[in-house]
Symmetry: D2
Subunit: 387 residues, 4 copies
């Protein structure tokens, strides 16, 4: 199946209007491989802004809505050949649940940004409805789309490192080191009503958890968290440090901070097994360091011939022609597109290797991670069980 | 003018069919910002392959041609509202001239890959026809699209380094260290009939020359070249090393090689002035090192608040969320789109700051660079004048 | 006072015989600046080996002893002009206390390797005897001798980072990832009778604690530790991860591991304040990264003109001519020599800026760190108070 | 033979007095391994300064001379058990020849700094006298003492890279970007009467040539040089760029500059063969990058178990405990000491593997390199033959 011969998938976007950052990223990522076309939207919770934003994006007036409920109602009355295939939800976190649930319940495929929702109960309701409807539900843990992350996952799964002993995952940022009261991006992330109970640990700690789990497959057994809010007046954590214990005996450290001045978007992962280790840095994403126990360090590069299948499938350009953030994001969307097209063509989901994207269950685990981290941070006991 | 509210520009592609590498890159780059739509093509010089490739890309049958001449003829008889705005030429080098000339002569805007053509005479004919027709003609020296390259250019132009003294530019590759007889990419690049008189110096040396000139504005006064063909049986150079003398007294070294095992796509530039220096590496493109004479080295990063306007305009994601090769390529196409849209709207070219892309004159200078390098390499005299 | 005009200080070494690693390092470090001469020794706890080792080092027979008690007795009966100025103790840890106490009590200056002793009670007895005798007592936390560590300390003390918020210190090694039963270096480090109650946390965690404290001056208020022994049969920890809370509200993470395959001697420190951050890596010791909150990252290099006094005093070669591990070690010994020579000349200690070396109190704090870390690791409570 | 049981070699130093930089480096390097003791000197060409400097270093009055001729005369009348074994010559370049010749002629072993002398005729006279007297003559091309340089040499000699095709060697400095009229180090280096006919090409270009030759064994067949003096009023070159052709067909580029602002002591080497490449940077000297043609890049580190014998012999500390400039310098002196001690013990030179240091012939080749580079720079012909 040559994907280029398939029709483009029709999508609507909820959120992502003017001044938003992440909506534009999603649109770039969806455009890159020419598998999607934007046909409808409800791009803001403010109706006027929603419609002005839709106009910017060239939406037809009758598909440019002031609210997601109008969008949903309109789509449901359209003939199948016009109707959207999926909705992409890029609103602030507190809106995710009701929108995602409604569209999934109506049988639409969904892509939703992370963290998925505010509570594990909400997450479970999404897991359930997706299971009932049999639809696609992707969560844009976009960092898992990097080819070298997939290479790392394949190497760990293939036993290259031997049994795992230790994981260090960090997400270091510094942009919230001051109050930034009038910054739109900062505003909702530090307002508990919109961001949920967590600040840094929700916004970026959840990415760290997902990256770690995706690459290693390790299950957290218990955790010990110390969350702090350094900036005066801030209502959620802006710095979090965790000790982790995994089923099977491995240990871990997770650091997520938004007050580390000088750090931009420094997500990094180190995985140590009995027979070797891997190291990856998001800001230098085309390289993966592999240190085998019986030889010198090796630098694996994206696009080089000695990589595995997963990395190769996630690669568009030759070695040395770097790919980066948007391409990784696009890889998540490519997995979603493959899964939807497979269902359109055969009624069956695509094979996991073709539909390589984070699912609603990953989103749910991320929500539990946030809840348990906050619970641990308030506890006097060292270890808070994860399940 | 919000570019998203403008209609998408209609383009045809010549070359870039199945198995091609660079055609797909152009399409990704044109898709990224949603400013272009592919509506027609002649995607191969082999008619059957051309049409099969066009089918892959979803071209309508009546705009999917077996030759570029058919494409041109067809476009000329279509009504303006259907007709393409521009053609993107991504064929092997030897085809560039006749296609580019024909489309430019017919009044179409053109984007053409590099090196532009085989001879300075051909290049001049393109410069002339573009001047006569008043059309847009972009040359995809894509590396100039990197935000930190534009930052470097702005800093040099702004006098941050003081008068320039020395430039070292390198383009190190290793993929042609062996014969690779059955490799399509290698095949035409090492066949003088298709690549022209030069091998590495044409394929990548021309990028190095362009990067150097773009950033520094320096004009080569004379050069001294040593070209070698290391791989047995190869008919063109696969390694070239040059000393450069610039008008005004600056000196330079240019290295372009495709036999440097272990190098992937290692284009790098160092510029030294009286008061400071800059260093940039294509494989780590989000960083630019600035060393002022009176202080420690500084690492400038894409997306950070202390960059100039040119870099900011070429940026889609925040600092630490890396952009890379395709985004740089897309920046060249964004400049072309801005220029075409300005002409559509006002009949006038866009300001240079909005239409930041290499022009036909850059392509012509690149052709002269190749010619003079080959001439010097055959000469016993140390210095071959550039003009 | 030109140090070169002073007489060389006479020293004896206890421990450091054949096959030892650290004794030779101390001798290199003491030789480098030509301030010391080795005149006596008891180089092993095995008398024959001690004497053979002393012979290797050119000791005169009458000053080459089979035990440290003989050495001490002999020195005490020698005339002042022959007698050693100081003893350098480089035995396994369990021997430190009795040797150090005996020599200090007898009025000799002492340099002792780290961790200082096994218990806080032992440490206190050394603090007390040194106070009583008024002698010099240096502890070779050698990493504090690096010029860029001293630069970091000076910048933090000078308020360049503003109030500190967070510290991440790591000491990553991998050489004990397997049992190494027949390795002498591994042997005593993993035998509780000789290494003390801790393994990695004592051997290298104590260096991490010292580096952190030296640079930041922060006092640990409470800590939360998770120590693990991964290698089957190992009786002490080989991996430790800690959360730290400092007086004043700063937070920290400390990682010390000897099972992280691929890591050699990767001691690194990151310090984050309200106004900036610093980052230093022991394996790249001539650079210090400073990220101010209001500008781009700066790379400070050893030997460059914009460093402070402390770094300059610890520097022998110009910028770009790297100094490394032995030079840092020698800087500790240079501080000791300056202090001893000042006392010889004036009867008074040298100014702290001239006698820049870790003291017995630093050693004592390091012992407490080890004790409290082990205590915390066994506790179910999250936070174990430090004092 | 345990070197520690051998008596220390007695040396005199000529040059290296107060304010000198390189003399102190030599003394640190000679002290490090405790194989040498300074017993005599003529530390400056100014008698008063010479004697004051000797006093600083603790020389006995009767061995602290105002001129090298007095030193030589005095040594010749001393009994063998007092007499120096060798002289270390660390004067400005123009003094090297007469001192070195006189001491060698008198049968003393000699270590002399580089560049060896001003003319090939002078160099030949030293080669001849050393051959006649059968003495040791080392030239402190200190960078060849780095363990990873020796590893590179061993890998090239062992055929790991296959037949060599290309070498790029650079020595980038920036400290002479301005006139620095009152800087002692700059003063003699830019005065033709003392530095010789060349500036940067002599001072550092000769190091680059030596590093390249040492690692690769390649012989220059012809060269093409462009030397420039950028700083107004400077009488010698401060920037040099060369194309090289080697016997056997390999090609090279050599860059040596002292006006490249921001560069400290950036000597670096890249060697490309048919089957792989190596890359080494003096400012990061504990790493060597090896890229085999059939696998990913490998980072070899000093002290790791997979290195060859030459690197192991030049190593004092374990992997991850970096060694640097002074240790490399000391490795050259260790080779000299081994050679002298072998002759003392057996009357025969040590094996080359034990006496690993640059010889008078290397110094002579370096002088020829300077002469031919200057000749080429003045020539209109592209290629100047080397021999």
């Amino acid at each position: 199946m040559n994907p280029a011969r398939l029709r483009k998938l029709r999508y609507a976007m909820v959120g992502g209007g003017r001044d938003g950052f992440i909506g534009a990223i999603h649109r770039h990522a969806m455009a890159l491989d020419q598998r999607y076309e934007l046909v409808a939207g409800a791009l803001s919770s403010t109706p006027d802004k929603a419609r002005a934003s839709g106009k910017d994006l060239g939406l037809a007036d009758d598909r440019n809505h002031g609210s997601w409920r109008d969008l949903l109602a309109d789509e449901l009355q359209r003939p199948p050949e016009e109707r959207i295939d999926l909705v992409s939800i890029v609103t602030p976190n507190h809106v995710h649940h009701e929108v995602a649930h409604a569209f999934a319940d109506a049988g639409f495929h969904v892509v939703c940004d992370k963290p998925l929702v505010h509570t594990s109960a909400q997450a479970q309701s999404l897991v359930d409805i997706v299971a009932q409807r049999g639809t696609v539900f992707g969560v844009t843990y976009n960092y898992t789309g990097y080819p070298m992350v997939r290479q790392a996952r394949e190497m760990v799964a293939g036993g290259v490192l031997g049994p795992l002993r230790k994981v260090i995952v960090e997400y270091n940022q510094g942009w919230l080191a001051t109050a930034l009261d009038d910054n739109k991006q900062a505003g909702w992330r530090t307002d508990p009503a919109r961001s949920g109970i967590a600040g840094a640990i929700g916004d970026i700690g959840s990415h760290a958890e997902n990256l770690m789990h995706t690459v290693t497959g390790l299950e957290i057994e218990s955790l010990c968290a110390d969350l702090t809010s350094f900036v005066p007046g801030r209502k959620v954590d802006d710095d979090g440090n965790l000790l982790l214990r995994f089923a099977g005996g491995a240990r871990g450290v997770l650091i997520a901070s938004q007050i580390e001045v000088g750090c931009e978007n420094d997500l990094r992962l180190r995985v140590f097994g009995e027979n070797g280790s891997l190291e990856w840095h998001q800001e230098d994403p085309n390289r993966l360091i592999h240190a085998p126990i019986d030889g010198p360090r090796v630098t694996l590069t994206r696009g080089s011939p000695w990589l595995g299948e997963a990395a190769k499938k996630a690669t568009r350009t030759p070695a040395g022609h770097p790919e980066a953030f948007i391409e990784a994001f696009a890889n998540v969307y490519m997995g979603v597109a493959n899964d939807i097209h497979a269902r359109l063509a055969t009624g069956q989901p695509a094979a996991r290797s073709e539909a390589d994207y984070p699912r609603v269950e990953d989103g749910a685990r991320g929500v539990r991670f946030i809840e348990k981290t906050v619970e641990s941070s308030k506890s006097d006991l060292k270890w808070t069980p994860f399940n």
